[in-house]
């Protein structure tokens, strides 16, 4: 079986996912095409250079419908011989794209892929594609469906995390993100998004709120308390699933949960031969990939079992990992991961995470792999693990190793 290597990783800055966000004026297809072009240009790709573009995207309706991946290829400068595949594994779609690409290379199905994703959350609202799991009564009731914010609060309650702990993690995310930007740590990968005249639209992660402290966060109301305790009363549903809990402690709010943003990212993946033919130097080997299904009610604990699985499947131990990227969907997700594996917070999300910079659903999985790679190189470390929790109870992980 061949090896799959990462040759390049790029991302757009993350724009606020609102009408006043800097990227709000850019269509999903356009942003995707810009990122694809960046990969093409940086790596001198021409013709039928890659087997497929696998493009993560969650809310596949309207302008994000109709196999956006292929549309993006056609909107970009990539050759029309390159098809496109739009995929959805919710928050891990971008990672899944990378994993799927890597495994196809390893399996001999093509020499190279561009894998990544996009999400314009300000333009195409989360949930506007519907979701039977929440809306179909038989399914919702049988699976004890609660919205993800409630799930995050269940994690906090079950594993004993306090509001203060969640807020402290959020403050740390903001501090680290600012430090990373100040230190230009994303310079290698950020692609300034420009208009057709070449004028800059956005060149930095604008969602960040440096200077956020415990006081500012402390003033925020718990976002999911009303829907949990009062209307429609999701907490009672949660306690049917976890009857040992007397109540759900609501600790999450906008400040310690991932931000709603616009963004896109891509990773160039290929075999050794691909690099040799194109004069490209591999930066890391995709050593392992994994996905798993978990309890859909608590929903967001996926990173723990999927990490157990990926380590076991590949004869590795947690101590083998030098750096972690655990998507900050909600503070409790990361707190739980660190608690389960007893990892040092100093090696987790070292350049900040989605709480500070935002989580463009279809793209984040690819973004954190790129961020992980950049930091492994910067700090001269070897092995990194990236993982995300996923709606409806799933987990995904990727282990990369510098070469």
């Amino acid at each position: 079986m061949a090896d799959a290597y990462i040759y390049d990783a790029v991302r757009s800055p993350r724009g606020k996912g609102r009408k006043d966000g800097a990227l709000h004026e850019v269509t999903s297809a356009r942003l995707s095409a810009d990122i694809l072009n960046a990969v093409k240009d940086r790596n001198n790709l021409s013709g039928h250079a890659v087997e497929d573009v696998i493009w993560g995207n969650v809310t596949q309706v309207g302008e994000q419908g109709g196999c956006l991946a292929r549309t993006a290829v056609l909107a970009s400068d990539l050759d029309e011989s390159i098809p496109g595949l739009a995929i959805n594994r919710f928050c891990a779609s971008g990672m899944e794209a990378v994993n799927l690409a890597a495994n196809q290379v390893k399996g001999g199905a093509g020499q190279a892929y561009i894998a990544g994703g996009v999400e314009m959350m300000g333009r195409v609202a989360m949930g506007s594609d519907g979701a039977a799991i929440a809306v179909d009564p038989s399914i919702a009731m049988n699976t004890y469906f609660v919205p993800q914010g409630i799930s995050a609060d269940i994690i906090g309650t079950e594993y004993g995390f306090t509001r203060d702990q969640a807020d402290a993690l959020a403050v740390e995310s903001q501090n680290r993100a600012k430090a990373a930007w100040d230190d230009k740590r994303f310079e290698k990968s950020i692609v300034t998004i420009r208009d057709r005249n070449g004028l800059s639209i956005l060149d930095h992660d604008e969602y960040m709120r440096p200077g956020t402290d415990m006081q500012t966060l402390g003033a925020l109301n718990a976002s999911f308390q009303q829907m949990g305790e009062v209307m429609p009363g999701f907490d009672k549903v949660a306690m049917m699933k976890y009857p040992h809990l007397e109540r759900i402690n609501h600790i999450h709010h906008a400040g310690n949960s991932s931000g709603i943003v616009d963004g896109a990212a891509a990773v160039l993946i290929g075999s050794k031969e691909f690099g040799e033919i194109n004069g490209l130097k591999p930066r890391a080997r995709i050593r392992a990939t994994a996905k798993i299904g978990t309890d859909p009610t608590i929903m967001l604990t996926g990173p723990v079992p999927v990490t157990h699985k990926i380590l076991k499947d590949h004869g590795m131990a947690i101590g083998d990992i030098d750096l972690f990227e655990v998507n900050e969907a909600f503070a409790a997700v990361v707190l739980r991961f660190m608690q389960a594996f007893d990892v040092d917070p100093a090696v987790v999300n070292v350049n900040g995470g989605s709480i500070a910079m935002g989580h463009p659903l279809g793209a984040t999985g690819a973004m954190i792999i790129g961020t992980l790679l950049d930091e492994l190189e910067r700090s001269d470390k070897e092995v990194g693990l990236a993982t995300l929790c996923i709606a409806s109870g799933m987990g995904a992980a990727t282990i990369i190793e510098r070469v």
């Binding site: 506007s128 519907g130 809306v135 009564p137 009731m141 999701f234 549903v237 306690m239 009857p243």
Partner: protein
Amino acid sequence: MSDFTYAVDADGVAVITWDVPGKSMNVLSREAFVLVEEFIDRALADDAVKGIVITSGKETFAGGMDLNTLATIRQESGDNPAQGLFDFTMNGHRIMRKMERAGMDAKTNKGGKPVAAAITGTCAGIGTEIALATHRRFMADNPKAKIGLPEILVGIFPGGGGTTRFSRMVGAMAASPVLLEGRMMAPKAAKMAGLIDEVVPAGELLAKAKAWVLSATDADIVKPWDQKGWKMPGGAPYHPAGFMTFVGASAMVNAKTQGVYPAAKALLSAIYEGALVPFDTALKIEARWFTNVLMNPSSSAMIRSLFINKEALEKGANRPDVADERVSKVGILGAGMMGAGIAYVSALAGIDVVLLDQKQEAADRGKSYAEGILDKGMQRKKVTPEKKAEVLGRIHATTDYADLAGCDLIVEAVFEDPGIKATVTKAVEEVVGEDCIFATNTSTLPISDLAKASKRPEQFIGIHFFSPVDKMMLVEIIKGAKTGDRAVAKSLDFVRQIRKTPIVVNDARFFYANRCIIPYINEGVRMVKEGVEPALIENAAKMLGFPLGPLQLNDETSIDLGVKIAKATKAAMGAAYDNDEADEVLFWLFDQGRLGRKSKAGFYAYDDAGKRTGIWQGLRDQYMQGGDQPELTTVQHRLMMAQVLEAVRALEEGVLEDIREGDVGAILGWGFAPWSGGPFSWLDIIGAPRAVEICDQLEKAHGPRFAAPSLLKELAKKGVGFYTPRASQAAA
């Protein structure tokens, strides 16, 4: 005489009149439905007929479907009951759809004949669904009349098109409360809810309906969903507006039903899945869900206990064959909360009441308790000042025993002390007539012992109410060793007058209800002592469909009462008493002054206003040692069997004579898992062999109190059930 009759008036309006001979309320039978279709066909085919009015020949319109029909269809369908039920339901849809389309052209929607419902009075179930299938609903402004779709209350849901039609008429959000709560509404409220179109004076009902029929146009009789471009009000499921409605509805129903009421889930699913397809397909989906619910043993159990048997008991199923013993004047001894409550419900029922206490202020306080309830009723506009005066006027608060002369029933509700009760019994018997029946409301003292103070023990009986009397439906009638038929008859007639449900049991400690409730509470307390997470205990109970967990119930009934009962029971049982483990927890709480809700401290903590804030952490600190927690199922089995085995023992010992009373009494008395139909019904659902298996496991792990009773083992061996005592029935 047929259930329905047909007559065309001079103006060409065909009036179909529903009037089931010999019944006080119309119920729909299969045969009658065939007749309805014949009449509809006749009216549609007759050129002289301009339109149809469906009405009732009674003061009420309809009570619903004859629920025995459903059981019959199941039996008839042999080895494919689901098919039989589905076909039956689809046939009903076919007939009502025919009426609804009324002969109009399928494409143009023109040429149909108007059909109106003239609803004379109370209308429920299929009666309402037939009305919903007509083009316009008129209801008489009858003060006693109520209309609704209460099927959910007996474990099914409106499967005659009511679900599909009403949700399409007003949207899922507005329809859900009506359908899920089974609310019966007064005419004006029903109009506001969109269930009916017009409320008219009773005398004008038929005329108004006919006038509309004669003036209605093609446009007036096409249903919204049969028109082009129709959209579900409030938004279809994947419309932004509809989305949150459905997400929220699932959560609310899930939380409310705790997952044990299949009908609520089926109803929501029928609405959701139906909203995504055209109308006729939606009816088919509704029919499939309806069939699914009917095939679930829970629904037949609920129908049997909450509809058929509850009614049978209220009508005096076990009443001895003696003449009418309705009460005209009742004397109540003791104006405490129980006595006052009994006085209120009696006066409300039109019975004259003498409310007697040792002190006039106590007697007056008892009467003002009744006044308080009436005032609340006035605030909610349910009681008029005249009504209040009338009811209060019947209660005579006094300290004079002589005032009891002329009472035909005495209900003694004084302090729970045999000496005091004996004194009072003797004093009363000096004054009342020889025929007077003497009943005691004792909850813990043997009736036969108390009867020793009476000159006429055959006229001495126990009538045990539950608190609060004005709300609790169950009344236990307890026969002492010498109690005679007339006393039983009078007690039953009295309970019927005050509109409660009676069960008749024989004299034994705790009678029936408390005999089952106390072990339930004790089992919960035992688990606390064992270190089980208290929330798990309480949630386990709620997920079985009990309104309160055992710890909360203990707080409500008060811990000092629990201590008193424990001490008294231990004193009486001696070495046979086996509840010391649980008592330890109780005494520990009692010693700290934690008496429950009344002292704002018990198993739960309360704030200064008396509101429950959560389980008292001190319980966990004291008893939880950090060991493994039991499985949810184990906790549930323990809580369930603690009650159910007592019910079986009560039957074995002859305390309970009729399993119907055991089941209905359990649900009404303490909210025993209504979805199961009661303890005996539950045992039939899981089957005696499984029940014995559970008992064996629990006995091994937790002790002899869980030993399977002989009766249960016998049923398991024979392969039969409580309600299916013959093997062939059990196999069906």
